[in-house]
């Protein structure tokens, strides 16, 4: 296996994702947890760029890192109380969860190693053109995604209305 720049970039991203995603769930303070999540999301966008899916990587950076993380930070600032920083977890419970998670990971990796993946795509970066993307997203033939696109738009509208209804103050009821 020759060392190409792609391999080096992948190894860096893999180590970075491993480190930050483990730190996301093990750090005690929630602001740090959100910051590590931000780094994980950026590294995930890097993996999409490495695969040649530049549009997907851009969407990941804009929607996740731009939109969702702002929501997280604001809601952390809105809802963090005085005693919320330190979480005490029972040791027995933590070890049980750790054993279950590690067992699940071992089973998954065993299945991956046993299954014969028929890897036909090479790692040559061939970008999906924006034109074919838009044509597929807006067409209703065999490989078209018009129906999910419209369903997503109605779904987002329902979420906007639902978010406003849930988060508004209930003063008029009293």
């Amino acid at each position: 296996m020759e060392i190409t720049i792609q391999t080096v970039v992948f190894l860096f991203l893999a180590l970075f994702i491993t480190l930050t995603s483990v730190l996301t769930v093990t750090t005690q303070r929630i602001v740090r947890s959100a910051t590590y999540l931000l780094f994980t999301l950026f590294a995930t966008a890097g993996i999409y760029f490495l695969l040649g899916y530049t549009f997907l990587g851009s969407v990941q950076m804009i929607v996740y890192a731009g939109g969702i993380m702002v929501l997280y930070v604001f809601s952390i600032l809105l809802t963090s109380g005085r005693s919320d920083n330190v979480e005490r977890i029972k040791n027995s419970r933590m070890f049980a969860v750790l054993a279950a998670v590690l067992g699940g990971a071992a089973i998954l990796l065993f299945i991956y190693s046993k299954y014969q993946f028929l890897q036909v795509g090479d790692n040559k970066v061939t970008e999906v053109t924006i034109q074919s993307l838009g044509t597929n997203l807006m067409s209703s033939n065999k490989y078209g995604y018009l129906l999910p696109f419209e369903a997503i738009s109605v779904f987002l509208l329902a979420c906007i209305v639902g978010g406003i209804v849930i988060a508004q103050k209930e003063e008029d009821k009293k």
Partner: protein
């Protein structure tokens, strides 16, 4: 040429970190962050399967795209619910949420 196993190992680690955080955290926001980790791992899997196993199709690409949109909507709703809970009981720790409104 990077094997598909390498990508799958990365996404497995991310998924298991998310599951671990979902079970051990007591803060609702931290649990939501763990859910985001799990969703991200599945998105990586979609993109990698499409790229390395079926490079002529675009199904995994679109699934990842729609999954990002859905997770954004889900996060917005969940945070709205959490802010409402905080307004009512002044805390979003799961062990303090032990009674419903009615």
């Amino acid at each position: 040429m990077i094997s598909i196993i390498c990508y799958l190992i990365v996404s497995t680690i991310m998924l298991c970190a998310g599951i671990y955080g979902f079970f051990t955290r007591h803060n609702l926001l931290a649990m939501l962050i763990s859910v985001e980790l799990m969703l991200n791992a599945t998105d990586i899997n979609f993109a990698v399967f499409n790229r390395l196993l079926y490079p002529n199709g675009q199904e995994g690409y679109f699934f990842a795209l729609f999954s990002i949109a859905i997770s954004a909507a889900e996060t917005a709703i969940a945070i709205a619910i959490m802010i409402n809970i905080y307004r009512n009981i002044r805390s979003i720790q799961v062990d303090k949420i032990n009674k419903m409104k009615w």
